[in-house]
Amino acid sequence: MSTTVEQPRQFCTLGGQQSVVAIERAIPIVHGGPGCSNKLFSGMAFFNGFQGSGYAGGNAVPGTNSCEKEIVFGGETRLREVIDGALKVMDGDLFVVLTGCTADLVGDDTATVVSEYRERGVPIVHASTGGFKGNNYRGHELVAEAIIDQYLQPAPKVIPNLVNVWSVLPYQDTFWAGNLQAIRQLLEGLGLQVNILFGHDSGGIEAWKKIPAAAFNIVLSPWTGVSIAEKLEQRFGTPYLHYPVLPIGAVETSRFLRSAGEFAHLQSTQVERYIEKQEAYFYHYLDRSADFFMEMRWDLPAQFINISDSFYSLGISRFLVNELGLKPGRQFITDNPPEIFLDGLVNQFATLADKVSAKVTFTHDGGEIAKTLRSEVFDQPPLVIGTSWDRDLAKQIGGYHLSIALPITDRLVLDRAYVGYAGGLRLVEDIYGAVLGTY
């Protein structure tokens, strides 16, 4: 998927800066060209649900803004200057130096520079995120791994029931803040102590220090974060549960909670009691609106098409198929999963439900997506669940459209969540709101 790309839906490894911004009181320091950080802020945080700067993002991000001089003579002195300044000017608990194309290409030894500061006791780490090295999903992992390798110390003892969660990407997932809060509530509902690490009230540096003390890690993600969990297993021997489906709606969420409960050796009665309560809530509303689903379905979109990363395309497909009984069209996966995960994903879509499967295309090139869909015939208006790029396409194929993935410029997103029981209801409201809103 390294072909040329029209209408990008993911960016470069330096996008990891947004994961730093998402850690409470953490300060990113970008050792790159003058515009990199701002472009990534605008692509991931602003023109993506208008999530905004937050505490130390946007224009507050310290950067070396490397120029001709740094390219020709190297940028290490410049970097030192900026770090010195940052330590004085920026009020933060953790500093993460991220390198961009310029620094990595001219071969600045950023690692050494940063380690010198660390030796002096400064809470600072370095992530080598030169843009050409991969996408920002990888960037997110690089940042986490950098903190783990360069900053964390083994814990004296394991805290039972403490779990670290590695799931949706801050800012890349427009609904990350709400989703992570939802995941926390779900796991707390089982009686676990949840280390959510990113976003409001996640504890900042103290939470990260607790990572090695966790009883286990949960990777609630098709692939992103697996490498983090593996690293933690190597360094601290922490076991991990990899659960690939983003849980949306009752069926999926209950499935997830059961396997989490099992992995954590929780009393199944305790797990079931919680699940029962949540399902009662969820199905009360599905029941109440059943009239609508059945009376309107004769003409509402029979077929849905996801154009989003593997988190959403898989999570939403399973939800719409297994809960609302909708019919999947072709599914597009845009986050460029590593080779080893592809078969697993294809298989997931092949077995969405008994008798129900979906074709998958891995691409993040709007041109290819458009070409593929234009060549298909739809007996009824399909539902296109994707990004703001896809509005035109949806129109062209006579379908309905909802933006749920980067970039989102037609919605403002605050604490909305699509994960969990309530998240499922929210998604249903939004999907049919988008449909009904057209007339």
């Binding site: 069926v251 009239d291 009376e295 004769w298 009984g325 129900v356």
Partner: protein, 488 residues
């Protein structure tokens, strides 16, 4: 007595005119025979649940006439379905490429004082306002239980306002309590149209065919153009001018005689516009017969035969596929009389068995008095007998039957009923577009719809698993007719 009496603003209810009933349990064959032999008697339910009323049916037709306005002379609650008609209007406009806009609906908002001192003044105000706000080509004044019981003279008021405003102002006597058969509301609405909108023919347009429909997609224009005929869908989304010239058309057809019986027969008896008398165009046999009857009336026999042949051939392979896929499935149909017969035909044509059915009412005959139009008889003759019950949307009876018949799929044509199939875990859908299964291609559309529903029943399964029915175990053990009284 002549069917249509233009001098009288009111008409007889279906009970009086056609001997219609709302309670029966037996088989299609028996029901048809009793009807033909005049041995059909209604039965009263001692227990009932909410149904619909004539006002509903009248307003839904009239409010979709694009340049008319409807004034509902009633307490505000009778306007509760305005928002539904409004969505039907906006959605229909959207599908027809018209910019969606609100329906022209006003309520005179009768209150306690009005019930004592009379509300005619408010009605007049409402009609004047409607004129000023929408500048309509006609205004329909629909009655209500309250206005009728307090004896409001809406006829006098309407006639006076008609002179004052210089546009037709038509009283529509659709008060809910007058008829237990809500489709009387269609007749009343059409009577209003015949009385004050339709004009005697200036010229004749033999090629134009009136098609009495609801709001379904236009599947006719293309079909008819291949016969050299022009489809004229009425009355929803038509305008007053077009409706005023219905008398000039070459023929009138309907997709459902329950809907159009009065208008079709009225146009024939008043202006000699021949009504095409045939079973409705659903299922192969029905469509063939319907087209041939149309061909005879419009002298297009040869074109019709060509059309039939080519369409049969065009759908044959896909139809065979579908029949294979749907083989051995059983269906249950719940719909308004004749359209219910049509849905039964479609199911049988697709190879499903009709395990049971429930029609909201039954007309033993139609206003045209012609057995050729006997849709029930047609189904029985073509596809064989099947269980039938007549029940005016009593969900407790339907639930009871569904649990007994356990169909694989539940097909409904009326809001509020579908959910009960779902709550029992039965794949269910509502056919809001009455043309969905119409003619040859409709069979295929419909077949795929059923396949989709049965191939992924997850929604219904979850619903059934997590919902509770509001009925006692006692009731669910009874026969569904337990509350039917003796024949009257």
């Amino acid at each position: 007595m002549a069917l249509v009496n233009l001098a009288n603003s009111n008409i007889q209810t279906r009970e009086q005119r056609l001997g219609s009933i709302i309670a029966y349990e037996g088989t299609a064959a028996d029901l048809g025979q009793r009807s033909r032999e005049g041995r059909l008697h209604d039965r009263t339910r001692s227990f009932t649940q909410v149904s619909s009323c004539a006002s509903d049916c009248s307003i839904c037709l009239l409010s979709l006439i694009q340049d008319a306005a409807v004034v509902n002379h009633a307490p505000l609650g009778c306007a509760a379905d305005f928002s539904m008609f409004n969505l039907t209007n906006r959605y229909g406009q959207f599908k027809r490429g018209i910019t969606p806009a609100n329906a022209h609906l006003v309520s005179s908002n009768l209150t306690e004082t009005d019930t004592i001192f009379g509300g005619i003044a408010k009605l007049e105000q409402a009609v004047r306002d409607a004129r000023e706000r929408f500048n309509p080509k006609a205004i329909f004044v629909t009655a209500s239980c309250a206005s009728a019981i307090t004896g409001e003279d809406i006829d006098a008021a309407s006639d006076a306002l008609e002179i004052e405003l210089g546009i037709p102002v038509v009283a529509v006597h659709c008060e809910g309590f007058r008829s237990k058969v809500w489709t009387t509301g269609f007749d009343v609405a059409y009577h209003a149209i015949l009385r004050k909108i339709v004009k005697p023919p200036q010229t004749k347009h033999p090629e134009i065919v009136n098609i009495i429909t609801f709001w379904g997609d236009d599947v006719f224009t293309e079909l008819f153009s291949r016969l050299g005929l022009v489809a004229n869908l009425i009355v929803p989304f038509a305008n007053i001018e077009r409706i005023s010239r219905l008398s000039e058309s070459g023929a009138t057809v309907q997709m459902c005689s329950t809907l159009g019986t009065y208008l079709a027969a009225g146009l024939e008896s008043l202006y000699g516009v021949p009504e095409v008398k045939a079973p409705p165009p659903y299922g192969l046999a029905g469509t063939d017969a319907w087209l041939r009857a149309l061909g005879r009336v419009t002298h297009k026999e040869t074109e019709v035969e060509e059309l039939i042949a080519s369409e049969h051939e065009a759908i044959a392979p896909e139809l065979a596929e579908l029949r294979k896929e749907l083989k051995d499935l059983t269906g249950y149909v719940a719909a308004g009389s004749v359209h219910g017969h049509s849905l039964a035909s479609v199911l049988r044509e697709l190879g499903l068995n009709v395990a049971g059915s429930c029609f909201w009412h039954h007309d033993p005959k139609f206003d045209n008095q012609d057995p050729a139009a006997d849709s029930l008889q047609h189904v029985v003759k073509t596809y064989g007998d099947f269980p039938v019950s007549i029940c005016n949307k009593q969900s407790y009876e339907v639930v009871n039957q569904l649990r007994r018949f356990k169909p694989d799929v539940f097909i409904v044509r009326h809001p509020g009923m579908a959910v009960w199939g779902g709550k029992l875990g039965i794949p269910t859908f509502l056919v809001e577009d009455e043309h969905f299964g119409l003619a040859y291609r409709g069979l295929l559309r419909f077949g795929h719809k059923i396949a989709d529903a049965v191939n992924n029943p997850s929604f219904y399964q979850h619903l059934a698993k997590h919902t509770r029915l509001p009925y006692t175990d006692w009731w669910l053990r009874q026969g569904s007719t337990a509350f039917l009284g003796a024949e009257e």
